[in-house]
Symmetry: C3
Subunit: 331 residues, 3 copies
């Protein structure tokens, strides 16, 4: 049995296959890990622990969403290497936790959760094909688009009931600086930023996520912390509201951008670090822009700023000969 | 003369060409037929009959719009096979009927109708080139984008006068279930859903459209009915307003998605049926999302949900080896 | 020294390189010229003169923005031929003048100006790669997207202070004809339309810009005047508000569309003239649509209508065999 374990999870190949349930469990954990771009079952397990610590309801949702989207991919005959790497799990898992965060946990929401997790596999496949032209990764775009669609649909479907967390639609207008940023804002914001990647506003959960990243990659862990910190510092400097900074709202996209550009896609050197730093500084600005642009629709920015910034910096890199791609991006 | 007739319309080829007016008439009818993805003059003729039955004004608009966009394509020297299949007619016809539905039928509107029908040929050509990268069909996207632009422009141009049908701009907000769905809601909604493909809220028109489809393809006709029915059942289950369900608002995009995925683009088997079913269920949800997203702009969703869902499911199919493309998609 | 001068600016090649400061100055002037699609240092110089005539503040901003984005491109090792043609300058210059027009000129705005000008080089590189698939030019899209993001971010960041020029967010609604168009409206609107390409509402500046274009290309100068005139005439005919027509709001996108399609991208003949004319007529309609669509966000249309119309007509041209591309597009 011990020979099953490899550095990133269970060992699985076509010659010496795992028993089906273990195989599926490994796909599932890697799927959870891929939310932070880690093709690593141990990281996925820690992320699950962090979510269950904060809320067993959300933890179950992530498990079910990841399971449904992965199973749908297997049913539709997707290339097994992609399924094995968790590529068809993370968007389903995120859709599931997003639906439970922003909609009342009634029977219709759970049914919709299963349906949209299955749909996330279609959207993932569609975007893999779309973006293959530029060799771009899909990232969490399917999760974002599907969640937005469901949240918007609450304005047409009387039986879809939102929670108080869904923003009220309004017109964006200039704001003044609100609240005073203290050391506790920075400290809480730093770990909340990591926890918010899964919508968990919980310090300890953020800490457990960081440990999960550390197991998978020291560089990824350092990047996540740096991304969260840069996000909140920039937001502070620009005069963002203190409660928003504390909640990690300006951090979670930076976490993902920093992990993607700082540890997954480029070979680590001084130039790529400077490049990732530029991206991390731009991210809170893009978050503010996306978030304000969605204000008339009453929907949250989710991880779209991360997707946008990462696509831009990956596309642009093709014209900058000094940036070298990572030998294995893991995605 | 009788030898002119083939299974899908007039026989036309470069060796033995038809007289020019007959040729153009056949292009025109196929253009109308292509609104429901049928390269079939008889279907196009029936669609026209259905529209004229409801409103001679709208019927004339469709004829003129289809004629102008087709003639523009011929003038610009587009590949004759595309023109012959009606590919440069249907967006012009739809733009024309959309403008007359949502704008007052004054001289400026008719002038704009001719101009935008001509522009629909430019947008069609642009999108053919754009989407060729993924071998995706353009569908009704040019009609949607041009109509949106004109409707939005009413907020800047004092001489563009809208009808009461153009929605008032507002902010999307959660709704409660409104009205009671009865058998008559379902019955009317079913055929209104088909009629709404051309903006015709008329049962008989819907019936005539269904007969037109039946002439072209039994599978397409069955798909259209199923698409309309699934759309309204899903909307009912989610708690949509009864008047909207009855009007066919939740059905017309499903009609087009079902015809496209259920009869045009895939070889008919159990797997492709299940795939089309998934798409048809997703369509009313996407309609609700798009419609709410456009609420702050005061413009209708038109057939954009159809375009979006069909593109997604066609793109994704490339990764699902069990789905076989139709040998001839007709588009 | 005299041998340094060529028909379009300073002569520069790898065999006989210019001194670095002169080289950079030439890149910079070509960058300013590229705002109106002229790879021409003399045109760029005249444009700068026109801006400085209206406002030394804006003139300095354009210089700094163009310099920062060009220097960033050199630092990142972009292909020198692109840098030399000013391709990495014009978006930085436009972002800079846009920020100073719509934000208070405080220290944060200047810092943001330098940062976003550097980012414009990333976005430019990303879009060059994105659009290479269709051989489409990037035009001013990076400037538009970056400026929109910053303007939207004012709704999240208390220290970002907008000027009264940034539109207030509202819901688009039908308007009535406002004001009477006179000869002075047409005369002022004509040159303001050219000046507005750089956000300069100033007749004399518009005249200086026109002379700059004349130096680079007589056809481009004629196209610019025609584009501005068509824009305001169409807007007048459709019932646009007189103050907007006078300000050049309906003209500046037409100027750019006419220069691009009428002088840069197609060989000049009767057919390409008719094609450019169609595009120029469509442009004020697209401007009205884009401008209304952005009303709920409280951000201006900038040159997005130009980008959209030019992309559409360039994409479409691939299907129209009678249109011949210019032998050298200069972009």
């Amino acid at each position: 049995m011990a020979t099953y374990f490899s550095a990133t999870g269970l060992t699985d190949n076509d010659k010496d296959p795992l028993p089906a349930p273990l195989r599926f469990l490994d796909h599932l954990l890697r799927g959870v890990g891929q939310v932070m771009l880690q093709n690593n079952s141990y990281a996925g397990l820690l992320f699950l622990v962090g979510i269950f610590y904060h809320s067993p309801l959300f933890g179950s949702a992530v498990l079910i969403g990841t399971g449904v989207s992965t199973a749908t991919a297997m049913l539709l005959g997707v290339d097994r290497r992609l399924v094995r790497a968790g590529m068809f799990g993370f968007n389903g898992g995120l859709v599931a936790v997003a639906l439970l965060t922003f909609l009342q946990p009634n029977a219709l929401t759970w049914a919709l959760l299963v349906f949209t997790a299955a749909c996330s596999t279609i959207v993932m496949a569609a975007m893999l094909r779309l973006l293959a032209v530029w060799k771009l990764p899909v990232l969490t775009a399917p999760f974002v688009f599907i969640s937005w669609c469901v949240f918007l649909a609450t304005a047409r479907f009387g039986r879809l009931e939102s929670t108080h967390l869904l923003p009220t639609a309004g017109l964006p207008k200039a704001v003044t600086v609100e609240g005073v940023v203290t050391a506790s804002t920075i400290g809480e914001g730093l770990f909340n930023g990591i926890a918010q990647v899964f919508f968990q506003g919980n310090l300890v959960t953020g800490l457990i996520f960081a440990i999960g990243l550390l197991i998978a990659s020291r560089v990824a862990c350092a990047a996540a912390l740096a991304g969260s910190l840069i996000g909140l510092l920039v937001a502070w400097g620009m005069g963002a509201a203190e409660p928003a900074i504390r909640s990690g709202a300006f951090g979670y996209n930076g976490v993902l951008v920093a992990v993607a550009l700082g540890s997954s896609f480029f070979a680590l050197d001084r130039r790529s670090l400077a490049y990732a730093l530029l991206a991390a500084i731009a991210t809170p600005l893009v978050f503010a822009g996306v978030s304000a642009a969605l204000e008339p629709l009453g929907i949250p920015a989710l991880t779209f700023p991360f997707v946008l910034v990462t696509w831009l910096f990956l596309l642009a890199a093709a014209l900058f000969p000094s940036l070298r791609p990572a030998t294995d991006s893991g995605v």
